[in-house]
Amino acid sequence: MSFLALTLLAPLLSGLTILALRRAPEALALAGTVLGLIGAVGLFIAASDGTVEAVLPGLPDMPLRLVATPLTAVLALVVATVAVFVLTYATGYMAGDPEKARFFGTMLLFVTAMQGLVLAGDWIMLLAAWEMIGFASYLLIGFWHGRAGVASAATRAFLYTRSADLGLYLGAFLLIGVAGTSEISATLATTGAPALIAGLLMLVAAMGKSAQVPLQDWLQRAMAGPTPVSALLHSATLVAAGAILLIRTAPMMPGGALLAIGIVGGLTAVITGLIALAERDLKRLLAASTASQYGLMLVAIGAGVPIAALLHLIAHAAIKSSLFLGAGVFQHDREGTGLDTLAGAGRARPGIFTGFAIAALALAGIPPLAAFFSKDAIIAAALASTAAPWLLPLALAGSVLTGTYMGRALNVLWTGEAGPARTPVPFMAIGMGVLVALAAGLGFSFGALEHVLGAQIEKPGWIVPAMGLAVALGGLALGWFMAPARLLGPLLAPAQNGFTVAGGMDGLILRPSLSIAAACEAFEQRLLAAQVGLIRNLGLGTARLADRGDDTLFAFSIWIGQQSLRLGQDTRSIDTNFIDAAIFGLVRRIVEAGARARHLQSGLIHRELALTVIGIGLIVIVLLTAPHYF
């Protein structure tokens, strides 16, 4: 319980303190994340013994819940760990930025939201955290908001993910309605058609957040923010949210939903792998690679082995944050991330390059580095799945591509002029170093982890590691020795365009929305004109009819008619003092009426009736005198 509070509140409070005080952001941020990490470690130990739970007030009959099971606690540990080292790196990276208080404050809110998502025990909490992550990443991608192109990148990221979030909203509503409770663990018992529909809706939401095809485009454009943001966003937070949602709801998913998840993941692994290979910018290459790796995780979930996806998520978190942090150092040196600009940048910083290379080899799946184990688990799952004819080729192709684009990146960074020697970057090196060490060694903890999670993966025979090693080495060799233009052939141009079909999301969603909006606006003008005409005719018509009617109605109708006519014409300028005259003139009349009312208390007329008449009279006077002031 107290560890639960520490995990969430330490980053939250330090973030808010930074935003409020605007002082010592680095120290506060590190303190907050380190305390959060201590909390997460404690939580993990506590959760291994038994579920830790907290219930908070929420909506009536739907309280908010936080729950730490071994699964959610290990995810919280991943988030907290990556956060500590990315922020350590950021203290160096953001040293000269005048707005760094805002940066660190927002980063901590981002981490808090992610911990909220990971530990959510009910759908409202999960949904809230899910959207807060989107908001925090909007603020972080848009951090340098004065620069050209930044606003559109942030806007695009938020809109893409929010559109897909509708899937999560609807899925959650459906599950809550069917189960009659908002507690996630209880709703996962749903079966039949609701489970299938909810499962597919969750997939849509996950596709948006984890940048799966065809919603992959926003992630590559989201590079407008500072590099530590990308490192956090691609490894353990925003993008991870999609896969985490599917891992957590996997027990509910029926076969049809699993197949859809596997196919989407497999296609994404291949398509975004090709995009990464065709990239001419290192950060964009890494971004496409993120989508591709999450595709592989979805393959594992689709194959019915979510634990393999979890292992790959953990390995990928350490690897991808290392790669981004390395790219950030090179970016500082060369003031750009284009592959042409970065040629040879690795030679100038052998230490950083070594770290980058270890992470790259780990991602490709070279033993004994972390992703070797998780990728093997994914290939084994695909092989054992009933959908193996679909999933296995896609998983293998995705793995070959991983090796290829990482090989190419390494080749570019190493080949070329080293340039002048560089000043050391201690904070960045420490932050990155630890993450690289994790990327290298995490694989050895997977056995123990499986034990804690109570889900042992069957150790595959020699065929799977052999396949894994072959595709990894083959891919790396292809990428190192052959230019992408030759590898991709006719696919090069479409891959460079991100395989957009029919103008991409802009053509499919944005432009139609704007046309609907324009049509509404045009309709609005016609509606307004029609209604003004209607009121005018109504007023004039009544006036004519009332010609023979009673006097008050007559006057009223005439007045309506007059006003209606005026509405259609241009209004002439009026005496601006008319309202003063109206109010103060009214007062005189009230005083006079009051004087008369005193005489009326003779008993002949009921006092209340007199007051009523005055009240109504007041309204009538206001209504009737208005025209005279125009």
């Binding site: 009536p60 309605g177 929305s513 704007l514 509404c520 007062v587």
Partner: protein, 486 residues
């Protein structure tokens, strides 16, 4: 002590006192306005502390008025009206503080504002049909003069349009009230609610009449066209009161009159009402997307947000499961309050922008976030609240409305598309006005002053509070909604 009566009439008495004063300088008038609205706010807090009761009205104050026809002066509160009363007194206080910058014909302005406050509080607390109608109409007159006297360029036309529209719109309500009176022999709204007097065709006609009146006020498609015109031309405080308080007359009436007094007929017409709500929500969102005038854009989002309220009320009528019904009503009632807080803040902020730049078109700004960070961040937070971000005021309300909708009439949940459209339009507005390269034209724009902070900070605080911990407010609403019999 009859606190309800004191709260209702203190403002207008303050206005009369101002008229009686020999010296009516701007300073005195503004001071009086802030004092009176502040006092009223404190009184409503005291009313809140007295609490409400489930299954009826609390704190009823009753005086015989015209016993012969069963009309009496009756005020009272329940969990639907109490939050609206608190919202009203808060928004009038903040409007009075904001309006301290007004220098034209101040005494008249203050008198009108105070009269509007009396009418608004009276409308929410009246338990007598006739009394309600009088307050309802008086508010209209006040707002008419407000727009006509202190509005912008094309104010005469907008004011006239507002007045004719809502005047003609409210006549059917009078007929419905007369119908309810004739079949029950009293104007006591409690009697009408406890034993709905109309049935069959009479009930249907009364419902249609009430729906027409309230649809104009809410406003719902297709009778919403007065709203953008009125908002664009109204002075800032007028826009805040119009959107924050007066639109709620429509939704309050929808529940209090249409749903509670003709319940069976309402359920029969439920699908049609729901369809209007859904269409309004979508139409308002898309129409807002087409605007480049900030004020007009926010005005159209009101059509969208109030469409959700209509959906919630209709779903409550249609739901067969009592639990879902309460969720829908809780959401609809909370949405009224959230909209008042968030849209109030947005209109204040656009007003502050207009005070500085004298324009409202988003294309004429750019990069203001670095120039006026307080104004900018306040706008960003309010905009995200308006687009339904969790942790801010609209989320709990919209969550409940959509949850109930999907589980009652699944087709109607198509309106949820509007939350993406509103996200798009607000992000576009933020990008155009506050992000990007700074526009040199506004290099000297000052950030929020102390008076403006005093206005905006309480609204933002409440927006966050309702979003993070809505239970203090929802419990009050829930008490009544869970015991509502219809």
């Amino acid at each position: 002590m009859p606190l309800l009566t004191i709260a209702t009439f203190l403002p207008i008495l303050g206005g009369l006192a101002l008229i009686a004063l020999p010296v009516r300088s701007a300073r005195v008038a503004h001071g009086l306005s802030i004092t009176v609205t502040g006092l009223v706010f404190l009184i409503t807090l005291a009313i809140w502390s007295r609490g409400i009761v489930p299954g009826g009205f609390a704190q009823v104050e009753e005086i015989a008025w015209i016993p012969a026809i069963g009309a009496a002066y009756r005020l009272g509160l329940d969990g639907l009206s109490l939050p609206l009363v608190l919202l009203t007194s808060l928004l009038f206080l903040l409007s009075a503080i904001y309006s301290a910058r007004i220098s034209e014909r101040v005494p008249s302005y203050v008198v009108l504002m105070l009269m509007l406050e009396t009418a608004s509080l009276g409308s929410f607390m009246a338990l007598d049909g006739l009394l309600f109608y009088v307050f309802f109409e008086v508010s209209l007159v006040g707002m008419y003069f407000m727009i006509a006297g202190w509005g912008y360029e094309d104010r005469q036309r907008a004011a006239l349009m507002f007045f004719l529209y809502t005047l003609l719109g409210s006549l059917p309500l009078l007929l419905a009230i007369i119908g309810l009176y004739l079949s029950s022999g009293t104007f006591d709204m409690r009697a009408w609610i406890d034993a709905p007097p109309l049935a069959g065709l009479g009930a249907m006609l009364a419902l249609i009449a009430m729906l027409f009146t309230f649809a104009v006020k809410i406003p719902a498609f297709p009778v919403h066209t007065w709203l953008p015109a009125a908002h664009v031309q109204a002075p800032t405080a007028g826009s805040v009161i119009l959107a924050g308080v007066m639109l709620k007359f429509g939704t309050y009436g929808l529940v209090r009159f249409a749903l509670q007094m003709t319940p069976e007929t309402f359920t029969r017409a439920g699908v049609v009402i729901l369809a209007f709500g859904v269409f309004s929500a979508l139409y308002g969102a898309f129409a807002a997307l087409a605007q480049s005038d900030l004020k007009k854009m926010i005005a159209y989002t009101s059509v969208n947000h109030m469409g959700y309220v209509v959906m919630g009320v209709a779903v409550a009528a249609l739901a067969s499961d009592p639990a879902i019904r309460v969720v829908a009503l809780d959401g609809a009632a909370l949405q009224m309050i959230s909209h008042g807080l968030v849209t109030g803040a947005l209109f204040f902020l656009v007003g502050m922008l207009q005070d500085r730049a004298h324009i409202r078109d988003m294309g004429d700004f750019g990069g203001l976030l670095g120039r006026v960070p307080w104004l900018g961040w306040a706008f960003v937070v309010s905009a995200f609240a308006s687009l339904g971000l969790p942790g801010l005021a609209h989320f709990p309300a919209e969550f409940q409305i959509f949850l109930a909708t999907l589980n009652t009439q699944p087709w109607a949940v198509v309106a949820i598309i509007a939350i993406v459209v509103t996200a798009g339009l607000y992000l576009r507005a933020i990008a155009a006005v506050f992000l990007g390269e700074p526009n040199e034209k506004w290099a000297a724009m000052p950030d929020l002053g102390r008076r403006e902070m005093l206005v905006i900070v309480p609204l933002l605080f409440l927006t966050v509070l309702v979003g993070v911990a809505p239970s203090w407010l929802l419990n009050m609403i829930h008490t009544t909604m869970a015991s509502l019999s219809f």
